[in-house]
Symmetry: C2
Subunit: 246 residues, 2 copies
């Protein structure tokens, strides 16, 4: 399985600064949180490290060091691992440890298939929507637009994803929301292995705006059609980027 990554062969030996900086971020984050269970807290912290790209796809996640950094016991940390592995953000390999998964092209296809079904269906079922509900969508869109001006393409990406999360949220379906949260998390993983932020996110600001305007005019069916094409194009672009990496 010695496929891609590992593009920095020179190292392996120490250099505490670079590879340990996300461990420091974990330790810092650990102080902020409040109540709830320790395992969930640890899972929240780890999730953030992964989705924000400090823990890259393919990385090993060692129990011992991470337990120390997050200041929880190994047992508690393992509960957090189980949580995250069920979300698709970690994978267990028996007696080898936990890893951040590396999605494949097949995963991209599968994931987009589900996105198309769910998101388009949500839009088609919005008859009689209160227009106040669209406020979070607009906020996410403006977040992306501001980030684009600043040239922060990663932040454009999170804005776009937030747009789609709020979009499916319009359906008021806890289960659809849960599935979407998982899909978005996996999507972030994919973005991190491609690492061409601008080409990946910038074109979709305008298209999200178009969808939002259709929704504001109550043209839900048209919005769904536009979204369908949007998702086909996005999938195609990601697959192309994938091939250029491998």
């Amino acid at each position: 399985m010695t496929t891609i990554n590992e593009a920095t062969p020179s190292s392996t030996g120490g250099a505490a600064g670079r590879e340990a900086d996300w461990l420091g971020a974990v330790a810092a984050e650990a102080a902020l949180f409040g109540p709830s269970s320790s395992a969930e807290r640890a899972a929240d912290i780890l999730r953030k490290q992964i989705t924000e790209g400090r823990l890259r796809p393919g990385s090993r996640v060692p129990e011992k060091e991470l337990a120390a950094a997050a200041k929880v016991s190994r047992n508690t940390l393992r509960e957090a691992f189980r949580l995250l592995s069920h979300e698709g953000l970690l994978v267990y390999e028996m007696h080898r440890g936990v890893f951040v998964p590396q999605p494949t092209e097949a995963d991209v296809v599968d994931l987009y298939r589900l996105r198309r079904v769910l998101e388009c269906d949500v839009l088609r079922g919005l008859e009689g929507l209160d227009s106040d509900r669209l406020v979070p969508l607009r906020a996410a869109l403006e977040h992306s637009e501001a980030a684009a001006v600043a040239g922060d393409w990663a932040e454009v990406g999170t804005g776009n994803m937030r747009f789609h999360e709020h979009l499916v949220g319009l359906a008021d379906s806890p289960r659809i929301n849960a599935v979407t949260a998982r899909l978005v998390a996996e999507l972030r993983l994919i973005f991190h292995i491609i690492a061409q932020p601008q080409e990946l996110h910038e074109p979709y600001i305008a298209r999200n705006r178009a969808i939002l305007e259709l929704l504001e005019n109550g043209r839900y069916g048209d919005a769904a059609d536009e979204l369908h094409q949007y998702l086909l194009d996005s999938e195609e672009r990601i697959l192309a980027a994938f091939r250029s990496v491998s």
Copy 2:
């Protein structure tokens, strides 16, 4: 992993007269399993107890006794709890313990909404399906029919659910399969609350047969339409039964 269980349910003849014998069943089951992690093994066992109705919705699941019955440590069992709570088969209540959830009418509505979207979409995307792929559907259907003759309505129910699991399996989408597995598990919970097996399962044998025959004739769109109506009717019937219980 989350495959479809094999037979040998030993079929719990009578429906009466035992409260704690599921603890014994856990201990018995614990001996059978082979490799894999202890946590996953414990989760498999517990999942079976829940979906087969020996652990009823609303039950408390005490970690100490269960750890003894399954012969695993409490730490390991807690990992299994986390797994199952993410599948919707258990819920955590902070400092109170773990419980088998009691789905509400709102859950039924939400769940059926997702079922309709996913299952119907799968059927509409089956152009050019190899007819061999339908064999498991027929097997599940015949399982239901045989159980109906024997008057074992619970088994009719598992046959019907297996039919639908294989149906979505035709899409070859791991993520759709995973979501469906979760939905089916929750559905079983609901059936166990209502406990009117015959009225709930018997009418759908014929309808599953109708869907299968449409599929065998390549009429995927018609099958999807039939399935859509099927799911609407099923939801309505469950909601009615729900109201008569509460």
